[in-house]
Symmetry: C2
Subunit: 140 residues, 2 copies
DNA sequence: ATTCCTGCAAAGGTTTTGCAATGGG
DNA sequence: CCCATTGCAAAACCTTTGCAGGAAT
């Protein structure tokens, strides 16, 4: 543990300020939950439950709004894993994922271990913004 | 053009029979739209609109049912591309996709051109069922 | 005749939106 | 004080489901 709680909180405030988002009580709690303790994958509902469990009074609508604001600010990446739910990843680097289809669990694969080779040139007038790799797992 | 329309229709009927699905009017039309003319990516709504435009009387619920029945029979693959919509691919081989985020358009990448290397071993008790690669494109 | 399939409408789940009330700067 | 932000409830959206009528074997 190298940071005090106060230092981490100051860091969180700085994140919000740089993203041009007013550091409201709700946003501070949510960014703390998201960025305060390593890389995470969350859904809106999951994060909302966590905030409520932590004693924060915040609505689900605000969680959705905040997640999208953070995504627009480049603090989160949206993942298309499963048609029915939207996952957000606090690790915005270009890394791959394992996905356990039965459990709905996501696991990061370190950024530099996976290489995608032999990609064709994109159609004219277009460029690659991101390469998503999802490795789907089933129980043996 | 090597097949007559009748031959293609016979082929379609054969698909359904092998999948243990009664060759009803709706299923015949839908499988013909899906498999009658090369590889395709469709959403339920898109396929429904196409069927209606072709003069077929079919409900959206039946299109959903049929797409899932075809997927269970291994005739289609479901793609997670975008949180809000489910895409189905008539090409069930393990290939990659370009996705144009602005247009929502999907383009196949030939199966053998892309290689994913350096994947770590799956967690104990699990094995890889499929590797999905989506190359997201933006306008330059 | 029996079983499967279809259509409709209603329910389901997730996400977005409109608007009045609240709270930071 | 002003304007961004919040919360609520309603709406929007895609998808699934229940069930009665219809079609296939």
């Amino acid at each position: 543990m190298t940071n005090t709680s106060t230092e981490r909180q100051a860091c969180t405030m700085e994140l919000l300020r740089q993203a041009n988002l007013r550091p409201t009580r709700q946003r501070i709690t949510l960014s703390f939950l998201l960025f305060g303790n390593g890389d995470r994958h969350v859904t809106a509902e999951h994060l909302h439950a966590e905030a409520v469990a932590a004693g924060e009074k915040v609505s689900l609508a605000t969680v959705y709004n905040t997640l999208h604001q953070f995504r627009q600010a480049g603090l989160l990446r949206e993942l298309a894993i499963d048609g029915s739910k939207t996952y957000f990843d606090t690790n915005t680097s270009n890394h791959s994922h394992f996905f356990d289809e039965q459990q709905g669990a996501l696991i990061d694969i370190p950024e530099d271990s996976v290489r995608v080779e032999g990609l064709p040139t994109p159609p004219p007038g277009m460029r690659i913004s991101h390469v998503d790799v999802v490795v789907r797992l089933v129980r043996e």
